[in-house]
């Protein structure tokens, strides 16, 4: 990934939109906890719509792509602007991942219903590219603060 793209990708991450110690242990409660966190930070006009949308998205096929990472995503009228939330569970969660393993890292990507669709697919694509690097993935499993998260995402050749 080129450095320009890396900095653009990182600009979508904010300290307020990170949960380094997820409390939830089940698929639906993880989604709820993440959505609630965005609502507390005023990004969502109605949590219920987003939870419903994410639930529907999971019924289309799990967004747990394996290797301990999931990318719940979608568009809703209840999301005010394109938002990315990072969450980490040290113990891992059963998220119906495609490889059957537990999920430790969550990148929630939400876009408004009328715009930002292309951007959210681009973010998804870049993040999925990033986590293909085993060393990066390993560092992410352990990350517990925002500066370290940014550093890991930024580093080119980890």
């Amino acid at each position: 990934m080129k450095s320009m793209e890396a900095s653009k990708l990182i600009s979508f991450f904010e300290e307020d939109f990170c949960i380094f110690h997820l409390r939830s242990r089940k698929k639906m409660s993880v989604l709820t906890e993440m959505v609630h966190h965005l609502a507390l930070n005023n990004r969502i006009s109605d949590e219920q719509f987003i939870i419903e949308m994410l639930k529907n998205r999971e019924s289309l096929g799990s967004t747990g792509l394996g290797n301990g990472v999931a990318f719940p995503h979608g568009r809703s009228l209840a999301i005010k602007e394109l938002s990315v939330l990072f969450a980490r569970s040290a113990s891992g969660v059963d998220f119906d991942a495609l490889d059957g393993k537990t999920t430790k890292l969550f990148f929630l990507i939400l876009a408004p219903s009328d715009k930002g669709s292309d951007t959210y697919l681009a973010i998804l694509s870049e993040l999925i590219g990033l986590i293909q690097k085993p060393a990066k993935l390993k560092s992410l499993y352990e990350v517990t603060d925002f500066p370290s998260l940014v550093k890991i995402l930024e580093e080119k050749d980890q």
């Binding site: 419903e52 529907n56 289309l60 009228l77 495609l98």
Partner: protein, 114 residues
């Protein structure tokens, strides 16, 4: 917000998702990223179930609008219709109509005050 308006918003979110999955370019991109999109029938079932709860006349209006627009129902946050960016008349914001779904006179989209 009334229940029927909430149902319509949830229905629209679902319709947008279904539209995205049915879009060949988007679905191919998602699949190339590793997502399995095997549950389209489940989504369609959820959509039909939800649509049945919406009052018939309202559903018909909504479905007619979605033939032209991706977003048929949307909130009003300023003085404009965010569907077509035309200024809404002051009568639009009267206390009586606050709880009711209204129609943009210019584009016909359904509007509500959040």
């Amino acid at each position: 917000m009334k229940d029927e308006h909430r149902l319509l918003i949830a229905l629209q979110d679902l319709d947008i998702m279904i539209k995205e999955v049915k879009d060949k370019v988007t679905s191919r991109e998602l699949q190339s990223l590793g997502f399995k999109l095997t549950g389209l029938n489940e989504l369609q079932d959820a959509r039909d179930k939800l649509a049945k709860k919406v009052p018939r006349a309202l559903l018909q209006r909504y479905e007619k609008l979605t033939q032209h627009y991706t977003v048929a129902i949307l909130p009003v946050t300023g003085s404009l219709c965010l569907g077509c960016f035309v200024k809404l008349p002051t009568s639009f914001f009267s206390a009586v109509s606050r709880n009711e779904l209204q129609t943009c006179e210019n584009c016909g989209r359904l509007l509500y005050i959040p």
